[in-house]
Symmetry: C2
Subunit: 141 residues, 2 copies
DNA sequence: AGATTATTACGAAATATTTCGTAGATAAGG
DNA sequence: CCTTATCTACGAAATATTTCGTAATAATCT
């Protein structure tokens, strides 16, 4: 009885997680520099520090405080976190229909031929999985 | 000079918009009943009223106050609103990559054969549009 | 009419999130 | 050693969102 899954990150927390996922473990200074670049305005150093401290309490990051400048790293995986957020978002914005979301994402923006090809490959993979999983239905073939 | 596009709805506002999109114009009472059902706990009547009043100011809903019980209706379209939210979400959660979002949505959940077929149709449509839109490049053919 | 009920308007408390200032400690430079 | 810079911890202000209580008004019922 010790598992309390980390909660859904807030917007700021997610922004920090992006930095950690892409950059790897980093100090507050490094993270803050990245955030400041990503936005128009400077981000206060202690603002970033504070959010990281809150994230630590929530279990979203871990830290190594061996040195004076603590080093933070993500404690949640990118894909899992995105999956969690996606579930919530599908519910909130698309009434739970992932299909509608995909249709909207593909329909209302320009998608390159290369990306379309990737999606087709994924569709093929999924159908193969579906058919092997359903082999009871198909056994006559 | 009179266009101020309605802002991104909050979570509660979106929940109300869902009711209005599905049910059509409705009174506070009706909307509140729907919300109360959708959740575990009762929602205070004046809570719903208050949010609707704020939504009115923001231009997210319109109201007919001819009768004593005002009738509210959505002032933003479902698809447009979802598109707006999707853009923000793709940026925040997937670093701007709609492709990643689609892959995640399709990959990490079960998708029926019927849904897969719908997506294939959409992909075909998009490719046709891409090729006719690019006819400048292809005119030599 | 008088009492009860339903409704709107409005202020403000409750909650969540973001932001920053200040204090204290530690390191680094001169 | 003293000054300056950097860092952490912490409190709290600023902002956004949600929730609800109260008062005023209008409709309904007996």
């Amino acid at each position: 009885m010790s598992k309390a899954p980390p909660p859904k990150p807030t917007d700021s927390e997610l922004e920090i997680l992006h930095v950690l996922w892409q950059h790897g473990p980093a100090t507050v200074r490094v993270i803050n520099d990245h955030l400041s670049q990503r936005r128009q305005a400077e981000v206060g150093y202690t603002t970033t520090l504070k959010i990281l401290q809150l994230m630590l309490e929530k279990g979203l990051v871990r830290r190594d405080d061996a040195d004076r400048s603590h080093v933070y790293r993500a404690a949640v995986r990118e894909q899992e976190t995105q999956g969690l957020l996606l579930d919530k978002f599908v519910d909130a914005a698309f009434g739970g229909s992932a299909l509608k979301l995909v249709m909207q994402a593909l329909g209302s923006r320009q998608t390159s031929a290369d990306e379309l090809a990737q999606i087709r490959r994924l569709l093929n993979d999924i159908e193969i999985q579906n058919s092997t999983a359903n082999s009871d239905d198909d056994e006559h073939a």
